[in-house]
Symmetry: C2
Subunit: 213 residues, 2 copies
Amino acid sequence: MLNARARVSKATVRRIPLYYRAVQQLQQQGVKRIRSERLSEIIHIPSATIRRDFSSFGELGKSGYGYSVDTLVDEFGKLLEVQDAENILLVGCGGLGAALIENNFRRNPDLNITMAFDIDPAKIGTEIGGVPVYDFRELAMRVTPDIKTAIIAVPSSAQPQVIPALEGIGIDAILTFAPQPVVCLPTTTIRYIDLTSELQSLLFTAHHQQLAD
Amino acid sequence: MLNARARVSKATVRRIPLYYRAVQQLQQQGVKRIRSERLSEIIHIPSATIRRDFSSFGELGKSGYGYSVDTLVDEFGKLLEVQDAENILLVGCGGLGAALIENNFRRNPDLNITMAFDIDPAKIGTEIGGVPVYDFRELAMRVTPDIKTAIIAVPSSAQPQVIPALEGIGIDAILTFAPQPVVCLPTTTIRYIDLTSELQSLLFTAHHQQLAD
DNA sequence: AAATGTTTGTTAATCCATTCACATAGTAGC
DNA sequence: GCTACTATGTGAATGGATTAACAAACATTT
């Protein structure tokens, strides 16, 4: 599994889910073996990059043969720990939060939003897509100790109060849609999805493009 | 404005929206000048990176003084073309699509989702947050020629049909939530937001982290 | 107006990631 | 088993982005 000698670069980490999804699809199609060159055509990542990425997880392939699809599914599955379910809490049940609950990463049975929090009395006590919505002030009371991951979909201004509360109950991985930059504990891994920034930088590139990007 | 001699790196482009948002906030707070060192504390980007980024747009600052907040707001506003409204169409009015319409980038009056498309008869003809939902088969008929930008929030499997249709009506900038990699015209700028991948790579980092990231 | 202090813009150094290119190791056919 | 292919894994080269560090430019104070 994780090759102690080789370090896995950040860029590689961001690609693991793409690899995993692609080899899963191949497996479902009954494909048994895959060459880096062919995989490159499917996911639009250069074959040299694929080979280097794969090799940082050990020697997964065979010269003159390629990679066994089953092996890749296994290995990436282990890397992403898809065997043990990841229970996730969500803070903020506005339109975006509700959409995330309803979606609930349906393709990935190991990813489950199991509870949600809000401060709106109209929402507290209800269920969204079978997921109970609790009062955010009852966070510590309601949360189960298996939950280490949170998704934040609250207005940016509310985020500075949310993060310390989450850290206080043992959350160490946070995905947030609020662009407000925050200070968090060194043990907390945080990732931002900033929809407005994505759109604005996309438009900048489109408007100023000489060459395709 | 755009400094012809200096080229703007992709990494810089992705930061422009963050800079714009920060200097707007400073302006609203009545702040007149800002040093790169101080801005660095606010947005958590190293001051050297900020200075290098800013200098790629011309000499915006003054030695021994810093940057005028008003100048920065002006310049970044011009770069992002916030004076002329960008009309956007949305394809796919499921939970996520509806949430995006209702949000509609409210902080940015220049970004407007003005029409939406779906193939569900139950949705066609309705309005979501004041935005009309049309039949996707009427795309060419309904679209106005001012629209050059689209957001796709359809199931991944439907995306290969959606993209060529959009390109056919002159769309050249696409933001999509469907991770399915696609081939598109060289003149089309496309950006993916892949929620599952973001979450999976976040979890990988959190689980395997020795050092904070 | 001179002296002191501050902060930029940029050159050089470093770091990280991608890509090339090929020796090596294995496959497939005969 | 031997020969001709094929595709990996990786050392070396390249490219892109970040960071350090400082001369030059301006502000401020006296």
